[in-house]
Amino acid sequence: MPTPRFTFHQPQNLEQALDLVGMYRTNGKILAGGTDLVPKLRAGLMDVHHVVSLNRVPGLNRITFHEDDGLVIGAGARLADVALNPEVMKHYPGLAHACSVMATTQIRNMGTVAGNIVNSAPSADTAAPLLAYKAAVILVERGGRRHVPLTEFFSGPGLNVMEPMEIMEAIRVPSPPRRSGSAYLRLSARSKVDIAAVGVAGFLALDMDGVIIEARLALAAVAPTPLRCPEAEAMLAGQKPDPQLLTRAAAACVRACRPIDDVRATAAYRRKMVQVLAGRVIEQCYQTAERGDA
């Protein structure tokens, strides 16, 4: 495979970036950290003549949190910055964990959460926790801006609802209620530095009696896209968890997934591990929620 040749653009603001993206919508690609894009270019997987870097666009790397508005992760924010952000660690521990265990130190220093989402791999580590946190993405194009809930974003392996002229500007995550807890657990063949074979994220909000008001569970690497588990969530809502309920809810998660066999694990093992991890995630969410300080 000959080294790919392309023109590299470094717009200085979002308007310029949008112009370039509009201009090269048929043969251009956006570059954030480049940790997905560059290996794909080198492997000859795409025909790209223009690469538009977002790295000179000011303000894109912001990470802000307000009690009322929740969290905004700018499209330029690096995985490592999100992992170590005190507000993210406090209010969104599942996301902080995902950003701190995925990939490698070097990749986390370059890669972005937005890139992870736009890349839309079934195994994208930030996708499951963001789904569980009910995140939405902000997509902009010349003369327009739209909010898309993450549940409506993914459409297949590597596929999503974005238009070629659109840029993801940021990811918005609502503020979690007081008595709530969340977690993300992943499993891979190598304990560190490996793509997840299974990822499970959870979020639980409790009332003062410890009854679950709202439950959200999400899975990665076990279906063509990261996905939520409505059946399991409905089972948990209005209940106090007991071991039986945990088992049943985890089994409902297993029913939600559609895994495949690959070099990392067989579909059968993935199903089993969804059962194990989902049980653990729900338990962990419940325990932190009960402490009530989140």
């Binding site: 000959p2 080294t3 190598r190 304990s191 530095v193 070099v263 067989t266 093992y269 194990v276």
Partner: protein, 760 residues
């Protein structure tokens, strides 16, 4: 003699700083003026007939200087230990990755582009992936002249195995499988080839056998041996893989065609699919013991997968059949090995050379027997341990042997007895021993040994020439220590020179854990020769007898009067001046007392010395996911006298890391004849984060055949690791692992089966 000062002390690698700071120029950094870049077109099919190759469009691409196929080669069949190689596929391709054509162009991109313009018409043929399938009647033939796909057979027998097994108190009968793994060195295989006007080729190639590699290469190109010169640059690791490869021949052939230097390095992908991964083996074992735990007899059957051509697989299978028989006091053994061709990547040497596979099997079986007998597995090892000054069942002469001490130290360091007594759920501890060689007479057939040249310049600088190969394991440092010690000078006065077959002695190279013992003895002999020559000059200068002259810290003096001394450099100057510029040259060689095994009985003595070891692993198993975490590791190794303890410890830690990777994650997956995980995203090797603390311990009996009493460590460092971990997994879960690697999935399934059988 002055006391030993430099040998036995820990030194960082003498070239370590250069490497750590990025100054070393590795093989792939070499750039020659006018150099062209080569790329190889590889077969996309595991087995297919080549109907036609059209290279015309590729040749027409601007920047392309040559396109070659089989038709451009002399068409000579060759091979390191066979004649089943051709430089490019002749009438058919035999594995996915087989070389079909190559391009030399002004840059790599142009060469890559040209590959896409080569049109090859194939007729796909049925193929075989597994050696078991390949040996079945009617299986597709990989090589038409090898009926039944049998590449080689090996048989060995001593004593009366049937009677021994029949009269045993306990017998373990079990089938094992060891999978295919990739050596995963930092720098892929490759070379730069340069041809002079007389047609003489210089090959700059990182490889383990710079002298030997010339023989098959000269044959393949229809040249005489003297027309192939090899220069050995620093290179990024080998672990056994970097021996003969068509990767080098492609560069040589293209250099011949173009008259320009040609660089060809595998991409990582090509290195995965067409390198030399480990020989997968099916091994059946029967091992018996009496009531006291004394081994009665052993029988093994080995089926090894050669892949599509033989590199060294048949010798590796033979090694798996019987090398491990010198670990214990065996009396009755029988083994049969078959090496089978398949339509997969050719397999070859990988640290351990078949003895790793055999050690995994024997040491698992020993564990099984110990449990059957209710005996401490450590005690059973000690009870059967071969001793120093003994002769093994195949006639191998064991001089030094610290096996018992290795077991004693490793058990002490790991708290074995307490941990065995206080069993904790899902936590386990496992032990495994190993033996190995320091050289392999069965491999180096014409003669065996090592040689050196030591040159002392007018400036007193000492240059050591050898014919072995430092791929990062620390050989240069050991040779510098031996030379400095023998000459009585500081370590940094010594340079260890790049191997250049026009200058260096003929060496067999780095394999069989032979570098320190064989090459080291060669350097020692040459250093002694140089010392005598220089000491004579010093003696003349001091008006004394040469036998009374010693050198210490770079100063010559007469025994007993160290205050009246002469500077080594002054003596060197004097010596060169009085010889009108000729430097002091010491040469020497080592002729080891090895015996080529008898072709029939296999009785012989393949190595001048035999290293031993004992490793203990501790694991924790997650019962819900099946995930194994190795929590602690100790490794006691009999290395003879340590020349550089720091380097030995590094080798031990590296061996354990590589063995841990093999046990828990490393696996080349072949799917429909293609390697399915030919990249480091999908082929997992352990990272620093996966490693437990590894505590090495050196056991140092003096080895009379070793330089300064030393043996070797490279391969023994990995031999026992797999079974140490799997025996610990058994201790933790009751699951006996008979197939590598142990994926969480596999272990979980086995644990569930076990639970089911207990409940049911």
């Amino acid at each position: 003699m002055p006391k030993i000062q430099i040998v036995g002390r820990s030194y960082p690698q003498i070239d370590g700083m250069e490497k750590a700071t990025g100054r070393t120029r590795f093989a792939s950094d070499i750039k020659l003026a006018g150099m062209l870049h080569a790329r190889v077109l590889r077969s996309p099919y595991p087995h297919a007939r080549i109907l036609n190759i059209d290279t015309s469009r590729a040749k027409a691409l601007p920047g392309v200087k040559a396109v070659v196929t089989y038709a451009d080669t002399p068409g000579i069949k060759f091979g390191p230990r066979s004649d089943d190689w051709t430089i490019f596929a002749d009438d058919k391709v035999r594995f996915c990755g087989d070389e079909v054509a190559a391009v030399a162009a002004v840059d790599e991109d142009t060469a890559e582009e040209a590959l896409e313009l080569i049109r090859v018409e194939y007729e796909e043929l049925p193929f075989v992936e597994s050696p078991l399938e390949a040996l079945k009647p009617g299986a597709p033939l990989v090589h038409e002249d090898h009926p039944g796909n049998v590449a080689a057979e090996f048989k060995v027998e001593a004593g009366d195995v049937d009677r021994a097994l029949a009269n045993s108190h306990v017998v373990c009968e079990e089938s094992f499988y060891t999978n295919q793994t990739y050596q995963a060195y930092l720098e892929p295989m490759g070379a730069v080839a340069d041809v002079d006007l007389a047609g003489r080729i210089t090959l700059y190639a990182g490889n383990q056998i710079p002298s030997m590699i010339r023989v098959p290469y000269a044959k393949a190109l229809g040249l005489t041996l003297d027309q192939v010169r090899v220069v050995l640059p620093d290179y990024g690791g080998g672990f056994g893989a970097k021996m003969e490869t068509n990767t080098h021949l492609v560069a040589m052939l293209l250099a011949q065609k173009t008259g320009r230097p040609v660089r060809h390095f595998n991409t990582r992908h090509d290195d995965f699919i067409a390198g030399n991964p480990r020989v997968p083996m099916y091994i059946d074992i029967k091992l018996g013991a009496d009531k006291e735990g004394v081994i009665t007899g052993k029988e093994v059957k080995v089926i090894g997968d050669a892949g599509a051509r033989i590199v060294y697989s048949q010798i590796i299978v033979a090694t798996a059949c019987y090398r491990v028989d010198s670990l214990y006091r065996f009396k009755n053994v029988r083994a049969k090995g078959i090496t089978a061709y398949t339509n997969t990547v050719p397999t070859s040497c990988f640290r351990g050379f078949g003895n790793t596979q055999a050690t995994f099997v024997l040491e698992s079986a020993m564990d099984i027997l110990a449990h059957k007998l209710g005996m401490d597995p450590a005690e059973m090892r000690v009870k059967n341990s071969i001793g120093p000054d003994s002769v093994s069942v195949h006639g191998w002469k064991i001089n030094s042997c610290g096996l018992k001490e290795c077991v004693e130290e490793a058990t002490k360091m790991s708290g074995w007895a307490e941990k065995k007594a206080k069993k904790r759920p899902l936590k386990g501890i496992g032990l495994s021993c190993c033996n190995h060689v320091s050289g392999n007479r069965a491999f180096a057939r014409e003669f065996d040994g090592g040689a050196g040249i030591v040159r002392i310049g007018r400036d007193g600088r000492i240059s050591v020439y050898h014919g072995e190969s430092d791929m990062g394991q620390g050989q240069k440092t050991v040779y510098a220590q031996i030379a400095a010690e023998t000459l009585g000078v500081p370590l940094d006065w010594v340079s260890v020179m790049q191997v250049d077959t026009d200058i260096s002695p003929w060496g067999f190279g780095s394999f069989a854990t032979r570098g320190t013992l064989m090459g080291g003895n060669g350097v020692l002999a040459a250093s002694k020769d140089a010392f005598i020559k220089l000491a004579q000059v010093a003696a003349d200068m001091m008006e004394s007898n040469v036998d009374d002259v010693v050198c210490e810290g770079g100063r010559f003096y007469v025994k007993g009067s160290p205050d009246k001394s002469l500077d080594f450099k002054e003596v060197a100057l004097n010596a060169t001046d009085s010889n009108h510029g000729s430097p002091v040259m010491g040469t020497g060689f080592y002729d080891p007392p090895t015996v080529l095994p008898d072709p029939k009985t296999k009785q012989g003595n393949i190595s001048p010395a035999y290293p031993f070891g004992c490793q203990i692993a501790e694991v924790e198993v997650d019962p819900t996911t099946g995930k194994v975490t190795v929590t602690n590791f100790v490794a006691a190794h009999d290395v003879g006298r340590a020349i550089n303890p720091m380097a030995l410890e590094g080798q031990i830690q590296g061996g354990v890391a590589q063995g841990l990777g093999w046990t828990l994650m490393e696996n080349m997956v072949t799917n429909k004849g293609k390697v399915a995980n030919a990249n480091f995203l999908d082929y997992l090797i352990p990272t620093a984060l996966d490693m437990p603390p590894v505590e090495p311990k050196l056991i140092e009996p003096y080895e009379p055949n070793g330089p300064y009493g030393a043996k070797g460590i490279g391969e023994p460092a990995i031999n026992p690791t797999m079974s140490a971990i799997t025996n610990a997994i058994y201790d933790a879960t009751g699951v006996r692992i008979t197939e590598l690697p142990v994926s969480p999935e596999k272990l979980l399934a086995e644990m569930e089966k076990l639970k089911g059988s207990h409940e049911g």
